[in-house]
């Protein structure tokens, strides 16, 4: 029997199916015994969607990987496209990085691309992921990865439907300090863990803005396509401030101070509680602007409490677990995981090694994604992890917006006895940007 290697297969299928999007998959180069060298034909061909500041951080982590070849970027903003092209071309010493404005054209034309890095604003994350996976791409999608519970569900279903590898950008799940805190909680070293604290962002509020910035003349479409920038969101007049990051805080574009960090920290907390397959069933409204102190409860009674500021951390994006025999936590800026006693910290290397042995996962979020593109395993922040933790984010937001306690059924994915809350689980998407 003759083997059909990836590129051979691609060429053949593409010829046979002229006009159709075809999507290749990867043959692991490591299996070929290539050692440090990866033949061009065996590299993961990568593309980018909406890559700004944060996306460039991801890209800088991906470009040095020897089994990656970044070939094209898509962004409705010309200036952002060109910054990425410059970065990529300088890295490779050529001028090959191709530019695209419209995601639909990008996905239809670039059948050679195996996987994409998506780092748009919150409003586009889910739709871009769904379209990309439907086109056969694996995807590393920045967070927060959905604007609504319905969007998260659609991402999860699409990943399953097409067997795609999906990783959301909750990179602390791949950082040793956080992994250690999570494993201390998960393996019972803290005793019975009754509470996890999850950090929420110290800026913005849970309640959102509904105003429009003053309208200005739209730039030429080749400079910045406002229609594409808005994507599935309600129309509003153009103002350049939105495209420079001023979309944050606006209901149509942002998931609030809760989603800003909660997209990370809820997943971190739920990982340590062993509850990544579900989300809290109860949300207690707190009468403040941010949700600081909101107590959420899982079906087993465990609490996840939202916390803002430095009550439990002296860094950012932290989680902390409190058990009957001590506490442990981590945050950005920590040299090491912190815990209630030195004894709890003694086994750092051992516990992290056990985690890596059990999961076969790299302590690098982007590397974990690339490994899974090859192995087809589920990455650490797979679509289920994203959907469940983001469901908690959305439920907490809805709790704050409605200013009342809420009960949620994670199996039916609906609020119990609250019709208004249920109506906030989805938002109609603007045509033609629909799922």
């Amino acid at each position: 029997m003759k083997r059909i290697l990836r590129r051979t297969f691609l060429k053949r299928t593409f010829t046979a199916a002229t006009g159709l999007a075809v999507a290749p998959t990867i043959i692991p180069a490591s299996a070929l015994g290539l050692g440090g060298k990866v033949a061009p034909s065996e590299r993961i061909v990568l593309g980018g969607i909406g890559i700004g500041n944060r996306g460039r951080d991801d890209l800088r982590a991906l470009l040095p990987e020897r089994d990656v070849q970044f070939v094209a970027v898509c962004d409705p903003q010309k200036s952002r496209r060109e910054i990425v092209k410059q970065l990529v071309d300088e890295t490779y010493g050529n001028t090959d990085c191709a530019l695209y404005t419209d995601l639909r054209e990008f996905l239809a034309e670039r059948t050679d691309i195996d996987a994409v890095l998506s780092a748009t604003g919150d409003r586009w994350h889910a739709l871009a992921a769904i379209w990309a996976m439907r086109a056969g791409k694996d995807i590393y999608s920045e967070k927060p990865s959905s604007m609504t519970i319905a969007e998260g569900r659609a991402v999860l279903e699409t990943a399953k439907r097409y067997g795609r590898v999906y990783q959301t950008g909750t990179q602390r799940l791949s950082e040793a300090n956080h992994v250690y805190a999570i494993e201390l909680a998960r393996t019972g070293r803290l005793g019975h863990v009754h509470t996890a604290y999850a950090h929420i962002a110290p800026w913005d509020a849970a309640e959102m803005r509904h105003d429009w910035l003053p309208g200005e003349t739209e730039p030429p479409k080749e400079e910045s396509s406002w229609d594409l920038w808005l994507g599935p969101c309600p129309w509003r007049p153009y103002n350049p401030e939105y495209t420079r990051g001023g979309w944050r805080g606006h209901y149509d574009f942002h998931t609030s101070c809760i989603g800003e960090w909660g997209a990370h920290t809820f997943a971190q907390a739920q990982a340590g509680l062993g509850l990544l397959h579900t989300c809290p069933v109860h949300y207690e409204y707190v009468n403040n602007i941010s949700g600081d102190g909101m107590v959420t409860r899982f079906a087993n009674g465990t609490k996840m409490i939202l916390s803002r500021g430095d009550k439990y951390w002296h860094g950012s994006c932290g989680e902390r677990f409190v058990g009957s025999e001590g506490w442990a936590g981590a945050a950005d800026g920590y040299r090491k995981t912190e815990a209630s006693s030195a004894v709890l910290l003694a086994d750092f290397d051992k516990v992290v090694l056990e985690y890596q042995t059990r999961t076969q996962r790299a302590m690098s979020h982007t590397r974990n994604f690339l490994d899974c593109v090859k192995s087809r395993q589920l990455p650490v922040a797979n679509a289920e992890v994203m959907h469940r933790s983001m469901s908690a984010v959305h439920a907490a937001n809805i709790c704050m917006w409605l200013k009342r306690d809420l009960n949620y059924d994670p199996v039916k994915e609906e609020f119990v006895g609250d019709a208004e809350a249920n109506r906030l689980r989805s938002r109609a998407m603007r045509a033609p940007f629909i799922i």
């Binding site: 029997m1 999007a21 509020a205 602007i289």
Partner: protein, 663 residues
């Protein structure tokens, strides 16, 4: 420092977020501001686009059947069509769907695509027929939206409609039509209509000229929905040479935790292409099923290194107690075979050790202890590594025994692990070993182990007292080792002991005492070092003492004045350029007029003028402008003496900032 800065920023940001919004930034507003009736009146008024869009957004939460006709009336409005759908999609009850359906024949373009999408979101079974008609629409966006919406409705009728139209639709629509069929299949399967779902997946699987994503999804669905009855298909697909289908089969296998699937993957392993084999090995590892172990063991023993490494990692990932036995067996052979790091099998052996180190549980603990007790040195080394990485304090007696092993590698490795694992309880045993040894390498290992224990457990006193006690009966070389521990630990009693050792007639002990002082962790040793630097006749000792003194002063928590006083003392002793540079570096840490005055004379010393210039600029940049007289003198001297362009430029810049005249 970084953390403090963060806390400050976070506090400021928190304060900002909590404070009333600035005039230019509108504050957040409530989700719902009006009643449904009021919102409807807004839509019926001549309010502007923004007001009506807001009303729609709020009606999405509180709208009722009374709002439906008003909203439907906006669906043809290019500006408000989307927002009308925004409200309509979530309004409960029976009035919305017929209203949306009635618009299907009236609208076109984006407005029609949107309404089609909304009917799909609302899963309106009565919309199947009109949506089916739209599958033939010449506008690809409309035909595709209809296919997806029918898929969301997910009835057998919807599936039949898409299926019937699929063969005739234009190629660009095909992916959306397949998406519709996938959605139907999922809904049918969830509703127990497994045969219908299988039929759809098989239809998709049999399509020619469809994107690879469809081929992959169809195969995955066919296997998963069939359950046990799909094992034949999984088996067949694992043997394919088509990487798209192979990957899909692997994804399907990951969704099926049944042991039979493990057995199938395992059975297929020997027949696979190498590039597929490694993927199956990783899949087997993630299943946690001991039935994967025999074939993994075979793969770990033979073939390309990358496959063997993957198999070893998979065996460990399985995490079963039998995994330990398999890895031990592998390691048994490798410890005999591998003699050096250059050995081709070394990487394999290392991977097996990693695996054993990373499997939690008693079986692996026992295996590690067995290796530690082995008569073969190579295996003892493995055991030491394993008990160390597994943090097995129960192995400390064995490690202490290994610290007296006949093999020097074993002794060194064991001492290293005792230092990482031991507590105050091991101190006496280590000192005892030290007093019985004569090997120079062992002294280093023992001293490091004792120091590590103390620093890690924060109990210097537990070591200091027994070391001082042991000192009396120690040989000179043993005393030297003990002094190095005291030098790392510090403390008043230790300092007294080290001072005593300084007077020891044995030169080895004397030299060790001086080294201990130069490494001292506390400022208390500074006077001793200064005294030695001033009085010794040995230039080597003088250099050591001088460097040690300046280091202690710089690292101490003393006040700036006190540091300056001590560095000024050092300055009087500094004779070589390197010593002067050390003093200058210390002075650069102290931003004061006095320190600048101490630096200024060095600006006339050709051997260190550039360094002195850089330090003078550095101090002047941190110094309050009230010291402008001192700054002016020093920087004018810099301009006259220094040659380094960056230094000269920085000096001019600072002078310009302070409006100091250049003389």
């Amino acid at each position: 420092m970084k953390t403090k800065i963060y806390v400050l920023i976070a506090a400021l940001l928190s304060a900002w977020a909590g404070a009333p919004a600035a005039d230019s930034t509108p504050a957040p507003t409530p989700l719902v501001t009006k009643s449904a009736d009021q919102l409807i009146r807004v839509l019926q008024s001549d309010a502007n686009r923004k007001a009506k869009a807001d009303a729609c957004r709020e009606l999405a939460v509180v709208g009722n059947s009374q709002a439906v006709p008003v909203l439907v009336g906006l669906l043809a409005n290019e500006e408000l069509s989307h927002m009308a759908r925004y409200a309509l999609e979530t309004i409960p009850g029976d009035s919305v769907n017929p209203a949306l359906r009635s618009e299907l024949t009236k609208l076109q373009g984006r407005q029609l695509v949107g309404v089609i999408g909304s009917l799909g979101v609302r899963r309106d079974p009565a919309a199947v027929k009109p949506l089916a008609a739209l599958l033939k629409n010449t506008d690809p966006q409309i035909a595709q939206a209809a296919a997806r919406a029918l898929g969301s409705i997910g009835t057998t009728g919807a599936a039949s409609a898409i299926s019937a139209a699929l063969g005739k639709t234009a190629p660009p629509n095909r992916l959306a039509f397949c998406e519709g069929l996938f959605r139907c299949a999922e809904t049918l399967a969830a509703n127990g209509k497994t045969r219908d779902a299988i039929a759809l997946y098989d239809r998709l699987r049999g399509l020619a000229e469809v994107p690879n994503s469809v081929r992959a999804g169809a195969l995955r669905g066919s296997i998963v929905v069939r359950g046990k009855n799909g094992d034949w298909l999984l088996r067949e697909s694992l043997g394919t040479s088509d990487s798209i289908l192979f990957d899909a089969a692997i994804r399907a296998a990951l969704e099926m935790p049944r042991p039979q699937v493990t057995e199938m993957l395992a059975a297929k392993l020997p027949q696979l292409w190498p590039e597929h084999k490694i993927v199956v090995i990783q899949a087997l590892g993630s299943r946690g099923d001991f039935k994967a172990l025999p074939p993994l063991y075979v793969e770990a023993n033979h073939g390309p290194k990358s496959i063997r490494l993957a198999a070893i990692r998979a065996i460990a990932a399985t995490g079963h107690s039998l995994s330990v036995k398999v890895l031990v067996e592998l390691l048994d052979d490798l410890t005999v075979q591998v003699e050096s790091i250059e050995d081709p099998e070394h990487e394999i052996m290392h991977a097996v050790q990693d695996g054993l180190a990373g499997i939690p549980g008693r079986e692996a603990d026992t295996a590690a202890l067995d290796f530690l007790k082995s008569p073969q040195a190579n295996r003892r080394l493995v055991g030491i590594d394993l008990v160390g990485r597994r943090r097995m304090t129960v192995a400390l007696p064995g490690l202490l025994l290994a610290a007296t092993d006949a093999n020097p590698k074993v002794r060194a490795s064991a001492l290293q692990r005792v230092g990482k694992l031991g507590t105050a309880a091991e101190v006496a045993a280590l000192i005892d070993i030290l007093l019985r040894t004569s090997d120079a390498q062992d002294f280093d290992g023992l001293a490091t182990a004792l120091t590590d224990i103390c620093i890690r457990t924060g109990t210097p006193a537990s070591v200091t007292a027994p070391i001082i006690k042991a000192f009396a009966s120690a040989t000179p070389v043993q005393k030297a080792a003990l002094l190095s521990v005291l030098g790392a630990l510090g403390g008043d009693k230790a300092l007294v002991a080290v001072r005593g050792a300084l007077t020891d007639p044995n030169p080895e002990v004397h030299a060790a005492a001086l080294r201990a002082l130069t490494a001292w962790p506390e400022i208390a040793a500074a006077p001793d070092l200064l005294q030695i630097a001033r009085t010794t006749t040995s230039s080597a000792e003088r250099d050591l003492a001088f460097v040690g003194f300046v280091r202690l002063v710089r690292e101490s928590g003393a006040t700036a004045d006190e540091k300056l006083r001590q560095l000024s003392q050092a300055a009087t002793l500094a004779s070589s350029p390197s010593e002067k540079m050390l003093v200058l570096a210390g002075l650069g840490d102290i931003p004061s007029g006095a320190s600048l005055r101490v630096v200024t004379p060095y600006l006339s010393d050709p051997a260190v003028v550039e360094e002195a210039g850089a330090v003078a600029v550095r101090i002047s940049e941190k110094l309050d402008p009230k010291f402008s007289d001192e700054i002016g003198v020093a920087l004018n001297q810099v301009l006259k003496s220094a040659k380094s362009p960056p230094v000269l430029e920085a000096a001019r810049k600072r002078m310009a900032q302070l409006k100091l005249p250049v003389q």
